[in-house]
């Protein structure tokens, strides 16, 4: 499985990279939304995008909307990974097309369980 981590924080990208690689996921990183869209429109297919909300230039919600406007990316799951924890924000993200929502701070188990919810990981 291949995942794209989109977050302007280098530390947060490193945390997610470590957790995801630990369960055998290939990880690519993008530090903002525009770079992420360039990667997603390239030749590589990603099963999952993990998207921060608050980023400069293009925020995470705009990235979600741009991805969902692109039919070629329909199959890709989107998980918001964010400090935004108000119910209104959660609903906005889901309505925009986010498949899952993870609130910061989180632990490795939470990431693994979210991947299982998305059908990207078998649990035993």
């Amino acid at each position: 499985m291949r995942a794209l981590v989109i977050d302007d924080s280098r530390a947060m990208r490193a945390i997610l990279r470590k957790i995801l690689r630990g369960i055998g996921v290939d990880v690519t990183e993008a530090e903002h939304g525009r770079a992420a869209l360039d990667v997603l429109r390239g030749a590589t297919t990603f099963e999952l995008a993990l998207i921060d909300w608050n980023m400069p230039e293009m925020d995470g919600l705009q990235v979600v909307k741009a991805i969902r406007a692109d039919r070629r990316l329909d199959a890709m799951r989107i998980m918001m990974v964010t400090t935004e924890t108000e119910m209104g924000q959660v609903v906005r993200a889901v309505e925009a097309g986010a498949s899952e929502y993870l609130m910061k701070p989180f632990n490795a188990a939470a990431v693994v369980e979210k991947l299982a919810i998305l059908g990207l990981l078998e649990t035993e």
Binding site: Y101, E113, I117, E122, E124
Partner: protein, 289 residues
Amino acid sequence: MSVSPESFAHVCALVRRRSAIVLESGKEYLVDARLGPVAKDAGFASIDDLVAHVRRIEAGREHEELARSIVEAMTTTETSFFRDVHPFSILETKVLPELVQARARRRALRIWCAAASTGQEPFSVAMLLCEHFPQLASWDVRIFATDINRAVLDRARSGVFRQLEINRGLPVRMLVKYFDRRGLDWQIKPEIRRMVSFQELNLLERWPLFGRQDVVLMRNVLIYFDVPTKKQILGRVREVMAEDGVLFLGGTETTMNLEDSLVGERLAGPGVLFRAKGAAGRPGETKTG
């Protein structure tokens, strides 16, 4: 706060006598980690002082309270929403459709979560029922959620969960549909809370259950017990199960060589469920309830 060998031995004996939980040598670190706060809360300088006091006073209300606090602190309360995923998929796609058909005339369902901890498991079952079996709204459906630990039951009854708990295994569409924000925490909606009855229950003592259970979830409980206790508890589980009821155990647990009347049924996907011998795959209307 490091526990002495003598205190450790006493804690092991106390916990085993009261809960059947086996603490093997090497688990001193667990006693240190979990009883340190208990000792501090009760005003003792060390775990050894707490244990010595409990031994000295022998009986009475204070002894009982402290002994219970020790036992409760040594129970494992690890849980998450829809833990392991597949038991809930099996409930949704196999067990509950069969039971709904089999109970169509009586219109009643009994589900027992035997180690409910802070409530994530019974509330997951309740959300699953609401989500996939709306016809059960007019049935007599009862989810009994029991645990030996009173502190976790109090938390479970409140239906309030911290963000770290909400992050664990709860699909976002369930969060949006069944929870309200309460300050920094989240509270499960009253209609889900009402479906679950929480009750204190020590598996070694009397089981105050009501009627035969159609589904028993006793996951990651038996692992803490010795073989005679496992046998005794599984035998009693069989007695409280409906003839066509099902039992879910934890991923590493089995009835094999422990209770022959409960037979594992392998499924196409991951996970195993256990049914009474002779009832495997053939649910029918039970006579008792």
